[in-house]
């Protein structure tokens, strides 16, 4: 009886650990954050040149995140791999705009993703419209602003405003 109870307890613990690992795994998939950059630039791919339209407005989750004229870049944050946006494209100045929904799968391993909208709209292959955004190395350290409430009051070692010396 005692042995059975012990076995059940061990089983319960193992199941709890497995459930937590499974939840963590799901969080990894559904919670992956990306910064998506939208470029409205002319692109040349295998000899084909695609011109940028006069104006592109990008809507993500119903909210306008970018209004791009030729050569401009916008950005939006996104969680997960299935990216959806709506584009409002005005081909020429004074012309009518066309609204188009775009869905795509974002690569998991990229934090920042650059989408070339004209190439995407033209239906060119992925390598033509999608590339990784690699932030430029910053030499100077920007001043870090720490937002705290009263709990942040401290004279703790390492808690000062300065970075620890390298």
């Amino acid at each position: 009886m005692e042995n059975k109870k012990k076995k059940r307890m061990i089983l319960f613990r193992i199941l709890t650990v497995l459930a937590l690992i499974a939840i963590a795994g799901v969080m990894f998939i559904i919670g992956r954050g990306h910064t998506v950059y939208f470029d409205s630039k002319a692109v040349t791919y295998e000899g084909t040149t695609v011109e940028a339209p006069y104006k592109i407005e990008v809507y993500v989750k119903g909210e306008r995140v970018a209004k791009l004229y030729e050569g401009e870049r916008g950005m939006a944050g996104w969680m997960g791999q299935n990216f959806n946006m709506e584009l409002e494209i005005t081909a020429e100045k004074g012309g009518d705009s066309v609204r188009q929904a775009v869905s795509m799968t974002l690569p998991y391993n990229m934090d920042g993703i650059i989408l070339n909208i004209p190439a995407l709209l033209k239906g060119l292959p992925e390598q033509a419209y999608l590339s990784e955004f690699i932030p430029a190395a910053v030499e100077e350290e920007a001043t870090e602003e720490v937002i705290t409430d009263e709990f942040g009051i401290t004279d703790e070692p390492g808690g000062g405003a300065e970075e620890p010396a390298p």
Partner: protein
């Protein structure tokens, strides 16, 4: 004689009631004076209080279970806070954002909190009767290890990919980790605004679930064991309860809950002060609980809510009121920090005085009983 007893009882009970609730009453008085002086509108104060309740209540609730087990105020909750911070640093580096990032950070914090809680509980078992000061010192000791891990091991042994988190030298974590992608995601999950006051519904649901858990837990066998251990360890031991194990479990639960609480707290702030966010958290949570009328050996969910309201109300209004009275806002700033420490001191002194009084009263009673017995035997 009997008549005399009846007439003195009500006045004594009022006196005791006032004495028992002197800390909350003192804070009510401070707030009553400071609120009009500060000039803040009721809606502003309500908004601030609700935000701070969502931010802090979970953390403070984590203190209840060790009190139930007679281990006093768990200054070791800082250990759980550190575990929560490590979870958030890793989740941020892996770019897991929003609610999933929070959940992942909580899951990462669980084994760390459990281990630290086990270590803390084991040490506290070796220092029975001196749990509070021991847990306070343990928090400093573990803080040193935390700093070693975060400052030297992260980036060199523990992989950290992103330069936005890493120090420029290539290892160690920056002073501030941005949690912008997690900021108030839980608070805003179910948006509700009443009369300009934003209510973090989802956070309150989580807090409500924890309250239900605590109530349920106190009725389980383990919860009853904890109560028994809290009342008298020797009696509990004689009743067949594994006192040491029960005490360790209470600290582990508290540490794990503190880890979760820290994640909730920091998602509200939107950034993580890597080396200092946890340092004062135990002190302020304990102060808030004591302000709510709790004591070292007795605390309830009601004390938590009342404490957060009164303590944070004082925190909000004190600087402005101080500036109005003295012309210097720093006076109010110092005042509220001073009050935090003072309230803990007062509560500890009151607890000790009460304990001594109870002891001497019991001694007097025993002496009286013995005298009566002797008198009776002499008469016979």
């Amino acid at each position: 004689m009997n008549k005399n007893k009846v007439s003195t009882k009500p006045s004594r009970s009022i006196g005791e009631l006032l004495r028992d609730n002197s800390v909350p009453l003192m804070f009510i008085l401070i707030c009553a004076v400071c609120i009009p002086l500060s000039g803040f509108s009721p809606s502003y104060l309500l908004d601030e209080i609700i935000t701070r309740m969502g931010r802090n209540v979970f953390l403070i609730l984590s203190l209840l279970i060790p009190i139930m087990a007679g281990m006093g105020l768990n200054f070791g909750m800082t250990l759980g806070a550190m575990a929560g911070e490590i979870g958030l640093i890793l989740a941020s580096d892996w770019q897991i954002v929003g609610i999933p990032g929070m959940v992942l950070a909580m899951i990462i914090s669980i084994p760390i909190s459990m281990f630290l809680g086990f270590v803390c509980g084991t040490i506290l078992n070796m220092a029975k009767g001196r749990e509070m000061v021991t847990s306070y010192i343990i928090s400093y000791f573990i803080n040193g290890i935390y700093q070693l891990v975060v400052l030297y091991l992260m980036g060199s042994i523990i992989p950290i990919i992103h330069n936005s988190i890493k120090l420029p030298r290539g290892y160690g974590i920056r002073n501030t980790v941005s949690l912008l992608e997690m900021r108030q995601k839980l608070d805003n999950l179910i948006p509700l605004t009443i009369g300009g006051v934003k209510i973090p519904v989802a956070t309150f649901i989580v807090i409500g679930l924890l309250c239900v858990f605590i109530i349920w837990f106190s009725k389980t066998k383990l919860g009853q064991d904890m109560r028994a251990v809290g009342q008298d360890m020797q009696v509990a031991k004689d009743a067949g309860i594994n006192v040491e194990k029960t005490r360790i479990i209470s600290i582990i639960i508290s540490t794990v809950l503190a880890g979760f609480g820290m994640v909730i707290y920091l998602q509200n702030m939107g950034n993580l002060a890597t080396y200092s966010a946890h340092s004062q958290i135990g002190m302020f949570c304990i102060a808030a609980l004591l302000v709510g009328g709790a004591s070292v050996d007795k605390a309830s969910i009601g004390n938590v809510f009342l404490g957060v309201i009164l303590f944070h109300l004082m925190f909000i209004v004190a600087p402005t009121a101080g500036a109005k009275i003295t012309g210097d806002s720093m006076i109010g700033e110092y005042f509220r920090v001073f009050v935090s420490y003072a309230v803990i001191t007062v509560a500890l002194v009151m607890y000790e005085t009460k304990k001594r009084k109870a002891k001497s009263r019991a001694g007097e009673q025993l002496a009286a009983d013995q005298a009566a017995e002797e008198e009776l035997s002499e008469e016979q």
